[in-house]
């Protein structure tokens, strides 16, 4: 924070929380230097279908916030910027991916 400066321990925790909420949606490359656990806010925190990796097999090269649970975005939360529109145009996008940990390669790239 620029205008407020945390003085006691509680304020430091609040500051960290505010920062975490703000920085939650940033590209992984832009994350602050200090490693912090990435907690998905507002979405599923369980491992369910939809995880993707970059060409090196990790998540560092992915765009934001695809390291989150993309499948949950797709099914329960309409977020067309991130996932194909499953209501009208790509209803079968995940039909070959019943188990993401195994079949994630079948979730293909879509070019609208």
């Amino acid at each position: 924070m620029k205008h407020l400066h945390a003085i006691n321990k509680k304020a430091a925790r609040i500051e960290a929380q505010v920062a975490a909420e703000k920085e939650d949606i940033v590209a992984l490359q832009n994350r602050p230097a200090a490693p912090q656990p990435h907690v998905p806010m507002g979405c599923s925190i369980v491992f369910s279908p939809g995880w993707e990796v970059d060409s090196a097999g990790g998540t560092a090269g992915l765009c934001q916030p695809v390291e989150r649970d993309i499948y949950d975005c797709y099914v329960t939360c309409f977020w067309p910027a991130q996932v194909p529109d499953h209501l009208n145009n790509y209803p079968d996008w995940t039909s070959k991916c019943a188990l993401a940990t195994k079949d994630w390669r079948n979730v293909d790239i879509v070019f609208p």
């Binding site: 924070m1 620029k2 205008h3 407020l4 400066h5 945390a6 003085i7 006691n8 321990k9 509680k10 304020a11 925790r13 609040i14 500051e15 505010v18």
Partner: protein
């Protein structure tokens, strides 16, 4: 929707303004524009656009104003819409015990007129009950403490009375037993003792020193002050008896700080003089002051004008504390250090203290009370050491005492620390442990503000001093 102040209290350190964030207990330093925003919202609530406009008129940039408003909103110093009271988080189902107070006897060799255990406002009903705790009850209490303390690495046993040392033989056995139990269970145990010092002997002092028992001596000040109310049954004062004993204790017991606990009455209100005497003439490490708990009409009650004078003197002594702190030196006014410790953690209490939560009192008969002050009172018994705590009674006690049910407190900025004040004091004053202690609200706010100012000044000028409080447990 307009922006308005949430629970926030601003105060000034040396050169800097600070905000105490009431819903959380956080303390932040404010820059000029943030302070200006808060001051503006103190007068009126405005939309964000109007507020930015006002700040621009005051000479700030619109961008900085918008940023500052967003930051204040993110730490919840301000919010959209009117400020509403947020209920505290529900208590967990289980709260592991941290400490147990053993009232090893309800007998005392002094007859202090103001005593809450024996005096005019007493709530104890010791008739027909045991006068001294026996080892069987004490053992059961120690076992209970270990069993109920969950995975805490360290537990604490406080010996209390009556006059605790009238049952010194039991205390000795308990220390040995608890140490053995702790070792077997791979835990740590600490001890403390409150005493009037009349029965201290060389043997006892050596025992306390060897076992690292923390000692607090109840003592009111100089001879004249001490002998006004802290008297034997025959009316004789106790000062001359305890002075050499206290000095021996302080000289030999060097591994734990020895503290004095002063009960302030109409007969002992000269804070500076009391502190000077106890700290510098007798050599106590720390001195804590508390006004006597009493109905307002007792002779020893301090009364409102008296409390104003106490506040003035507290403030002076607190300034002295600050001077020491800025030089990085210890000062023994523990009312300040205890409050600073809580401010540094940013405590935000749903309940005023740990009574019935992490701490319980046990009477000589084995009855469990929320704390030592309720021991031996039939009305407040919360179970027995052999059968455990009656959860319904505890829920009732904790429910009453919770800040959520003290509606008067909901608009007060000092509530994170005070939470309505002592359950026992409330019972003596209002006949209900869950009543807010409204008779000292102004006093508490003034004192809390003073401590905030001290805290702010230290944070500005000598922040490393606050490290002393970093690991210190909030009282």
């Amino acid at each position: 929707m307009t922006l308005s102040l949430s629970g926030v209290h601003t105060f000034h350190g040396v050169d800097v303004d600070f905000a105490y964030l009431v819903p959380s207990g956080g303390i932040v330093a404010l820059d000029g524009i943030s302070m200006a925003v808060l001051k503006k919202l103190e007068q009126t609530s405005l939309t964000k656009e109007a507020l930015v406009e006002q700040m621009v008129i005051s000479g700030y940039s619109a961008e900085a104003a918008a940023e500052s408003i967003d930051e204040l909103e993110s730490v919840r110093a301000i919010q959209v819409g009117a400020s509403i009271y947020e209920p505290s988080q529900p208590l967990p189902d289980e709260f592991p015990l941290q400490s147990i107070v053993l009232n090893v006897t309800n007998q005392c060799n002094l007859s202090c007129s103001y005593c809450y255990e024996f005096g005019e406002d007493k709530i104890a009903t010791p008739e027909g009950k045991k006068k001294f705790m026996d080892m069987e009850t004490a053992k059961a209490s120690v076992d209970y403490l270990f069993n109920e303390s969950g995975d805490r690495a360290s537990v604490h046993i406080t010996f209390f009375g009556g006059e605790t040392l009238m049952n010194f033989p039991l205390m000795k056995q308990v220390v040995a037993y608890a140490r053995q139990e702790a070792e077997e269970r791979g835990r740590n145990v600490e001890f403390s003792l409150t005493t009037n010092a009349t029965l201290l002997s060389t043997t006892i002092v050596e025992f306390l020193a060897e076992n690292g028992v923390g000692v607090t001596v109840s003592m009111d000040g100089t001879k004249e002050m001490q002998d006004k109310f802290r008297i034997f049954a025959n009316g004789n004062g106790s000062y001359d008896i305890i002075r050499p004993k206290v000095q021996e204790l302080i000289a030999k017991h060097t591994n734990r700080p020895v503290g004095a606990r002063v009960t302030m009455t109409s007969g002992a209100m000269d804070v500076r003089k009391i502190y000077q005497h106890l700290k510098h003439e007798l050599g106590f490490h720390e001195v804590a002051f508390a006004p006597v708990t009493t109905s307002p009409d007792r002779l020893y009650s301090i009364g409102e004008p008296g409390m104003d004078s106490v506040l003035r003197q507290f403030s002076e002594l607190a300034d002295e504390y600050l001077e020491h702190a800025l030089r990085g030196e210890h000062h023994g006014f523990s009312n300040v250090s205890d409050t600073l410790a809580e401010l540094h953690q940013g405590v935000n209490k749903a309940l005023p203290c740990g009574a019935g939560l992490g701490m319980v009192g046990v009477g000589p008969s084995g009855d469990i009370a929320p704390c030592h002050r309720f021991v031996d009172s039939d009305e407040h018994v919360m179970g027995h050491i052999t059968t455990g705590i009656d959860k319904e009674k505890r829920a009732d006690f904790l429910g009453r005492g919770n800040i959520d049910t003290k509606y008067d407190c909901h608009t007060c900025w000092a509530r994170p620390l005070c939470a309505g004040g002592c359950h026992h004091e409330a019972y003596v004053r209002y006949g209900d442990t869950g009543h807010a202690n409204l008779h000292y609200c102004d006093w508490i706010r003034s004192w809390t503000n003073k401590c905030l100012e001290i805290y702010g000044a230290i944070a500005e000028k000598n922040p490393s001093f606050l490290q002393h409080f970093a690991e210190r447990k909030a009282a």
